[in-house]
Symmetry: C2
Subunit: 313 residues, 2 copies
DNA sequence: TATCCTTACGGAATTCGTAAGCATG
DNA sequence: CATGCTTACGAATTCCGTAAGGATA
């Protein structure tokens, strides 16, 4: 049994039981992968994959158990390397953060600036993606840290910690009929075309729920991935916008007016996600704490140790 | 990084930083171990061992962290193999139980008999040792299961689950002055020479505590490792014996008389110990449950998952 | 001086990639 | 017949043991 064999098994599973693709991803030859996997199966004394003729078509019962444990061994091995790096290259290395547009655009700039001042030698990588992609990057080990409002808490492999709560607001042009209304209601909103987030992003689910609960059918004419696109089209008069409150800046967004909407939609919790059982570099804890000061290293370590459900703010 | 290197590091630490001895134990050459360890250090970018001239004299700070994680990787790898075996050789394999004389002699025979009937193809190994040795065999992976009254709960690497409580009794020859006393007291006992367990065994600690709490100084003339030796010398008139109540059998021990002593000494808890994080074969759970029916597989798995303090009955 | 680690070197074993073969959809 | 896994074989690499060297207590 060696690490190479374990990596081959893991990658083959990740690539949907396609040996050729797994070999390609690991920059090696396909027959090599085939043979190594077979040797591992021989050594363990169990078939991992169900083969039909010369195709891999599934995991055997023992195979499922084996794959799970393979993942753990590789995770621990990765942790070992990371722990060594923590000493070998103190305060330098790479931090990969996966996040959504809203966070990258509005919450993270100040964090990134502070972080770079504190850790000038750390190579900071920001990956933008939708919440599902972020979760998958964390699970696959491509990102060390994920920040998103949706999805992260749905994966049991991840620890999703609440960073902060926020509400939506409604943005309209200054000359819009709703511009000077006192306390806007859902019934007011459905009279106009609506511009808001794509279903997978930034609390869109809470928006849909609120309308559905009142039996209202909003006319969403544009579902965007980012707040800036939404604001742009609202300024053009395409409709009224529903965006995260943080995305409205009175100074910058002179053409728009923001209406409180905290009473209309359930508030949202932005979470910081990390892979359970992963070893985190010291500067990763620092980044998290810069982003959400209550998420101290100690708290995170405790949460990791706990068998753990995700908790609420 | 490969498993061989990790095993070399682990064994070197276990052998007190003696490369030669580690190589010997792993049936390989000493230069091989030396080189592989160095290559691992190079790859990780940290020194694991402190070298003075050409001797290994300690672990570096990163080394301590590395060693800990090496242990985890190897443990997970071992678990993987065990899990595969669980499928490959269902209901066959090896179960190594480490235990003390008292357990082996009085509690385990019925368990072993039942187990062998249920799992005729499992190779059952019983290792006898003192509680500390038992704990170390568990930690070193030489035993799957430990049963003892002392020590197991002191190791944080072990999960020690209470199996049953028991008390001591006093045994005397039939013609002894204490033979017909109603409710024997500590003050009665100190008038005679005492024959009991070695300090590391079978609740001896509770015996000493009881006398010390009353300011009494018992005259222990023989400290034995097993109950049979104690009973033999009591029959010879060397003194009065204090043994585990289970060790007295009215039929077999005709020459002796047993006096209740549950009120004199704190009762003792015999525990089942397993290595935390170890994968247990199905028949291992069965053995434990035969020994202590309340320790079900489910309970054990829950206790393992918990970050876990050891608990009491 | 005995113990114990490192370095050097040659042989053995393992690993790996290319090429060819064959089953599936 | 295109895709995808297995088998075969030769080359390259890695691993390992013996022998020699040097440091420490």
């Amino acid at each position: 049994m060696n690490f190479q064999q374990l990596r081959y098994v893991r990658e083959t599973v990740r690539q949907g039981l396609n040996l050729t693709e797994a070999a390609h991803r690991l920059f090696t030859s396909q027959p090599g992968v085939s043979r190594q996997i077979k040797e591992l199966e021989d050594e363990l004394g169990v078939q991992i994959f169900v083969r039909r003729g010369k195709r891999l078509v599934g995991l055997t019962e023992p195979g499922k158990a084996v794959v799970q444990m393979v993942e753990r061994v590789l995770q621990e091995a990765e942790n070992l390397k990371q722990a060594a790096k923590e000493y070998a290259e103190q305060d330098s290395g790479t931090l990969a953060v996966a996040t959504t547009h809203t966070q990258a655009r509005y919450s993270l700039p100040r964090v990134v600036a502070a972080f770079r001042r504190r850790y000038p030698k750390v190579h900071l990588l920001l990956h933008q993606g939708n919440p599902t992609e972020i979760a998958e990057m964390l699970i696959g080990g491509e990102a060390d840290l994920g920040i998103a409002t949706e999805a992260l808490e749905d994966y049991k492999q991840l620890l999703a910690m609440p960073a902060y709560n926020w509400s939506h607001c409604v943005v309209v042009p200054h000359d819009h009929p709703l511009a000077n209304i006192e306390r806007v209601q859902l019934e007011d909103l459905v009279k106009f075309p609506i511009v808001t987030y794509d279903p997978h992003f930034a609390g869109r689910s809470h928006i849909d729920q609120a309308f559905a609960a009142r039996g209202l059918e909003p006319d969403v004419v544009l579902a965007a991935i980012d707040s800036d696109v939404i604001k742009t089209y609202v300024e053009l008069g395409l409709g009224i916008g529903i965006v995260a409150a943080v995305a409205y800046d009175a100074k910058r967004d002179r053409g728009l007016r923001a209406l409180e909407a905290g009473h209309l939609f359930r508030s949202n919790t932005t979470r910081v996600g990390i892979r359970r059982g992963a070893f985190l570099r010291g500067f990763t804890y620092s980044f998290i704490e810069l982003f959400a000061p209550h998420l101290t290293r100690k708290l995170i370590e405790t949460s990791m140790a706990g068998a753990g459900e995700n908790y609420e703010l």
